[in-house]
């Protein structure tokens, strides 16, 4: 499969999806079912890897590209991931110049506020997956308290959580590993 062909197949998934993993069915159909350049297991691994590394979930196409064709495949995946972002330019330009209009402002603010509600909804499956034992529940609660009551950087809280979990694992307190 050529670089351009892989890019276009991945782009077909990313440009028609509005959330990180929403592109998965399209890309699965193209690369796993029809082209056989990727296995279903590799596809799952690509998702697991990007959920375990910093950055947006949409990065999974980079991992999938790497599994399909090495570094050039990863570059094709990266290009497929960033290309749709350029579509925001005309809409930002258009809406930005009309932001003083009360109706445009009301529409955009309603979308942002709805996004906050959706984010809370997204925390539910993330919580089910991550808060699996007393230690991780304690980490989640302590993290939220620190975020709400202090100005500690998010990166430090995540690093601290990782260190606490490693310590708990060392003394056998993380149940999910056993």
């Amino acid at each position: 499969m050529s670089f351009l062909e892989l890019y276009l197949l991945l782009l077909k998934g990313t440009a028609t999806a509005f959330a990180g993993l929403a592109s998965l069915p399209v890309i699965q159909d193209a690369l796993v079912t029809h082209r056989h350049v990727l296995t279903a297991e590799q596809l799952n691994e690509a998702v697991v890897i990007t959920r375990s590394t910093p950055g947006p979930v949409g990065l999974w196409v980079v991992s999938a590209g790497y599994f399909a064709a090495g570094v050039s495949g990863a570059i094709a995946g990266w290009l497929a991931m960033i290309t749709p972002a350029l579509l925001v330019i005309p809409t930002v330009h258009f809406a930005g110049r009309r932001m003083k209009h009360p109706r445009v402002r009301a529409i955009l603010e309603t979308v942002v506020i709805a996004s906050a509600g959706l984010l809370l909804a997204a925390a539910i499956p993330l919580g089910r997956e991550a808060l699996t034992d007393p230690v991780t529940i304690a980490i989640g609660v302590a993290g939220l308290v620190l975020l709400l009551t202090t100005k500690i950087e998010v990166a430090w809280i995540i690093l601290g959580a990782a260190i606490v979990a490693m310590g708990a694992d060392t003394v056998g307190l993380l149940y999910y590993l056993t």
Binding site: L59, T83, A85, K100, T110, G117, M166, D169
Partner: protein, 195 residues
């Protein structure tokens, strides 16, 4: 220092950042956060709006709302929008590259090493702990995003819109983009509030 400009979007804001500064901030803060794109947006908001005042509240709203309605990865659309507003096309390209190359490189490395580190217990424990903290980051981000719109007389409106979006997604099963398009439709008709 306010900038004199005929651009209504840039009116009253501090000086635009150089492309280098723009790249620096998006590399440092656009690539590191666990917990999804919105958590990263919350961190970026603090850096580019609260601390450096490169964009204003209105511009954040424009970038965030339009990015949420753009196909693909919303975070990258947000970065591109901020880059466009602050430095035009070069800024959009720089922000997009700075917000995507480092984390993509990390994913390539993690993919290459996956067969090794998936069996390393301490690494898995560290990731599990970090993701648990990411749940807290996600919950806090809801407030970070919504609170600028909580003004006298709008508290109930914010609670109803956010609550309805949550319920439509969780209970009714509407997809996020369906909920957001519905929200945009509601925004056309609800009474406007003075800023």
């Amino acid at each position: 220092m306010a900038v004199e400009t005929d651009d209504p979007v840039r009116e009253g804001l501090v000086a635009r950042p150089s492309l280098f500064r723009l790249a620096d901030i998006f590399v440092r803060y656009g690539n590191i956060t666990l917990g999804g794109g919105s958590a990263t947006v919350a961190v970026l908001r603090r850096e580019i709006l609260d601390r450096r005042k490169w964009i204003g509240e209105d511009e954040f709203t424009v970038c965030f709302a339009t990015a949420r309605l753009t196909p693909g990865t919303n975070l990258l659309a947000f970065c591109t929008g901020v880059g466009w507003i602050t430095r035009g096309l070069p800024g959009a390209v720089v922000a997009l590259l700075a917000g995507s190359i480092p984390c993509a490189a990390m994913v390539v490395l993690a993919t290459a090493l996956f067969s090794i580190w998936q069996h390393v217990g301490w690494a898995q424990a560290a990731i599990h702990g970090a993701v648990a903290a990411a749940v807290a980051v996600t919950v806090k981000t809801c407030w970070t995003i919504a609170h600028p719109y909580v003004r006298p007389g709008t508290r109930l409106r914010v609670a109803v819109i956010a609550g309805a979006a949550f319920l439509l997604n969780v209970l009714i099963g509407l997809s996020p983009v369906e909920v957001l398009l519905l929200a945009a439709g509601v925004g056309i008709f609800i009474p406007t509030v003075r800023a």
